[in-house]
């Protein structure tokens, strides 16, 4: 079976220890988590894990089954890149002097649709949001000038199809 990128979305209760339980499922199967993001979701009090893995569909299917059966997980889904809208964010910290000495940097910022979020005496910070390869390209372009610090977030993603969590929760409150 072909190895592909999959985005796993997990809707869960917001409980201490659940992250450990979920990451353990990957550990048990010796699968590396390529990126992980935990945030609130569209539903009050419900957390959302966005996990990116590079594996086969059979494995991701099994993993999502194992995740979903954890008590505090409401529902888990997996999607291919084509089925989602996804982004990552990155911050580049660069010496301020370069902004004036190297004209090319200003063009890189413009061409990559990124923003300068702060300028201090010693450094300035560029924020870039986009797909991983776009951030990688910008990183490559800036690298020759010297990057003081770089950080990239985990993938955040929304699916094109519906993920019906509210309906599931309503079922719980209606069932006697």
């Amino acid at each position: 079976m072909k190895i592909k990128w999959f985005t796993i979305s997990v809707y869960s209760e917001n409980n201490v220890g659940l992250l450990n339980r979920i990451s353990g499922i990957f550990l048990k199967r010796h699968i590396n988590i390529e990126s992980l993001n935990v945030s609130k979701s569209e539903i009050d009090g419900v957390s959302k894990f966005t996990i990116v893995v590079n594996t086969t569909e059979k494995w991701v299917h099994n993993i999502v089954g194992q995740i979903e059966k954890q008590i505090e997980v409401i529902k888990a889904f997996y999607h291919t890149d084509e089925e989602t809208i996804y982004q990552e964010s990155a911050l580049f910290k660069i010496a301020s002097s370069l902004l004036f000495d190297e004209r090319r940097i200003q063009n890189i910022i413009k061409e990559n649709n990124s923003q300068i979020v702060t300028v201090a005496r010693e450094f300035f910070v560029i924020a870039k949001t986009g797909r991983r390869n776009e951030i990688d390209e910008m990183h490559e372009q800036l690298k020759p000038f010297g990057i003081m610090q770089f950080v990239r977030s985990g993938r955040i993603s929304v699916s094109k199809d519906e993920m019906q969590i509210t309906a599931l929760l309503n079922e719980f409150y209606q069932d006697k």
Binding site: G17, G24, N62, K69, L169, F172
Partner: protein, 577 residues
């Protein structure tokens, strides 16, 4: 916060009283119908033990000699009774000693609640005396776990713990309670948990899937059932029997499913798996329809998946959605509680008799009988075989006994030859293969079924892993029968060394003590049999005894268990010798 996410039984009158967290734990256990628990005290759980002392009339605490013993005893109790087993331990080493039992209960779906003490909340993370992160450690081996740091959390969390342990596919739950939460006082009231919003324990049966399954059954020429523990956990023994009798389907079992249908039933064709029966393994690859009921296609059952039942349509009856298509592709998945789904299936199934097909199993049995079984249970050679010991136990107990086995050759021989009349009678460590399981599990099994004969069958290796639990048998004068099949080897590993490692017996020869003297040291009546002429009478004497009885049988040192599917081989490549 939790209140919004769980449902509880409505109680008309809430009687509130101000009590300590430790006392609250006792009231929670009593409210859940617990009257027996196993454990071992220590610093961080002392407030709860102090309350156990005060509530001795309501709750019996059995002091095992090691915390691992407490978990296996709780498992044995749960498996024989269908109720939730409870084990308790202190923090640190007490808690870590529970891990093997938790892992065993997790993989064998045994309902168990473990309660551990923990250092006070203000000391958490400070490497305090006997502090260990048991939540972190137990996460992969529990169905759910939770650390209580405030007394007020106790009723809701305990209610949730019992609900989760026993509902859906059962499993172990660990509740860790900091010492301050045991001391603090609060207004106590208790409602049982009836639902958790993020947890769907039993999928609703899908009628079209059931109808499709029935259509396959009605059209099949060679249908074949393999059932597992799901039938026992779902209390679906009658429904399964009705199905096999109505549709005339030969049915085999995994070791966890053993005893769900009586051994002598004409359509009960035996055991599948590595040391299972010849026909049930080989004919898996000849059936045209495989109905897997409450089983999970463990690798010890399937052998090589690439050559497993490829010719057959597969219908998987399963409560746990994550098991479907995990190992074997299911053409139809019937999700739900086995009792409910089989009940719904029955009216759609036509009466049938697959005589020629059932006869195939009989023919294969004859081959196995001549090649293997006869030599095992009616040996003509000098040395005693494990098989003949099991056969004598069958005869003496009239197939009525609960058989508790440890792990290894004696386990496979027991599962192959022990005969059962009643469900919940084969208690063994299936998925995890935990040596040391049997002795403490037999204690729990006996206490969970005092009216039944309980016989523990243990190897000389496994016995010595939890031998200290003889102390519990002695202390409580438990009329439990212990049969040690002593071949002075770690027999199963030795067998593999013989077959696959050119007889290099690395660390499998056991230099054993005088087991009879050890048992006698615990004031348990003990005998040793080394010759065939003494076997029958001694086993009869043991079964007739109304006291604890320890029997060591010296068996042939280098016997092998056959048939055998070598690890990773196909079910059709089963070896008879």
């Amino acid at each position: 916060m939790e209140t919004l996410k769980i449902k509880t039984e409505e109680t008309p009158k809430k009687t509130k009283m101000k009590i300590t967290g430790a006392e609250a734990i006792i009231h929670c256990l009593v409210a859940e119908g617990v009257d027996l628990l196993y454990g071992y005290p220590g610093g961080a759980i002392m407030p709860v033990y102090d309350e156990l002392y005060k509530f001795q009339d309501k709750l019996t605490h059995v002091l095992t000699r090691h915390e691992q013993g407490a978990t296996h005893a709780a498992q044995g109790y749960a498996r024989v009774s269908g109720r939730v087993g409870v084990a308790m331990a202190t923090s640190g080493p007490g808690a870590t000693n529970l891990v093997t039992g938790l892992a065993d209960a997790q993989i064998d779906s045994t309902p168990m609640v473990c309660i551990t003490g923990q250092v006070a909340r203000h000391l958490l993370g400070s490497d305090a005396f006997q502090e260990t992160d048991i939540i972190g450690i137990s996460t992969p081996v529990t169905k759910w776990n939770y650390q209580i740091t405030k007394a007020t959390e106790i009723p809701e969390i305990m209610a949730k713990a019992f609900y989760i342990a026993k509902s859906g596919r059962p499993g172990p739950v660990l509740i860790d309670i900091t010492k301050n939460a045991q001391f603090d006082e609060f207004e106590f009231s208790y409602q049982k948990c009836t639902a958790v919003r993020s947890y769907k324990p039993v999928p609703k049966p899908d009628i079209p899937a059931i109808e499709a399954a029935a259509a396959l059954i009605n059209n099949a020429k060679k249908p074949y059932i393999i059932w597992g523990q799901g039938v026992i956990l779902g209390k679906a023994e009658k429904q399964l029997k009705a199905l096999i009798e109505k549709a005339g389907i030969p049915a085999a079992w995994t070791i966890m499913g053993a005893s769900a249908i009586e051994s002598d039933h004409p359509l009960n064709v035996g055991m599948v798996g590595m040391h299972g029966n010849y026909g049930p393994n080989v004919l898996t690859n000849e059936c045209d329809l495989l109905l897997a009921i409450g089983m999970r296609f463990d690798d010890r059952v399937t052998g090589d998946l690439n050559t497993y039942a490829k010719q057959a349509k597969v219908v998987h009856f399963e409560i746990d959605k994550a098991e479907v298509n995990k190992n074997v592709h299911a053409d139809i998945a019937v999700l739900g509680d086995s009792r409910e789904t089989l009940e719904l299936l029955l009216p759609f199934v036509n009466e049938n008799k697959h005589e020629a097909w059932v006869n195939e199993f009989k023919k294969k049995y004859e081959i196995e009988f001549n090649e293997v079984i006869q030599k095992d249970i009616h040996p003509t050679k000098e040395g005693l075989t494990m098989g003949e010991v099991i056969e004598e136990i069958n005869l003496a107990s009239g197939h009525e006994a609960v058989i508790v086995t440890d792990v290894g050759q004696h386990q496979m021989i027991s599962c192959r030859y022990a005969k059962f009349k009643h469900s919940k009678s084969n208690i063994t460590s299936g998925g995890l293969g935990t040596m040391g399981f049997a002795l403490p599990a037999a204690i729990g099994a006996k206490m969970g079924a005092m009216d039944r004969e309980v016989v523990a069958i243990i190897g000389d290796g496994g016995l010595q892993m939890t031998i200290q639990e003889l102390g519990v048998i002695f202390q409580h004068n438990l009329p439990l029968k212990i049969v040690v099949l002593n071949n002075d080897h770690l027999g199963m590993v030795r067998q593999w060394q013989e077959l696959f490692f050119d007889r290099r017996y690395a660390s499998t020869v056991m230099v054993n003590p005088d087991f009879v003297k050890i048992a006698e040291g615990y004031h348990i009546e003990a005998k040793k049999v080394s010759q065939r002429k003494d076997l029958k009478a001694t086993i009869q004497e043991m079964i007739a005894s109304d006291k604890p009885y320890f029997l060591e049988v010296k068996v042939e040192k280098e016997d092998n268990v056959f048939p055998m599917i070598p690890s990773g081989a196909s079910v059709t490549d089963i070896r008879l010798k």
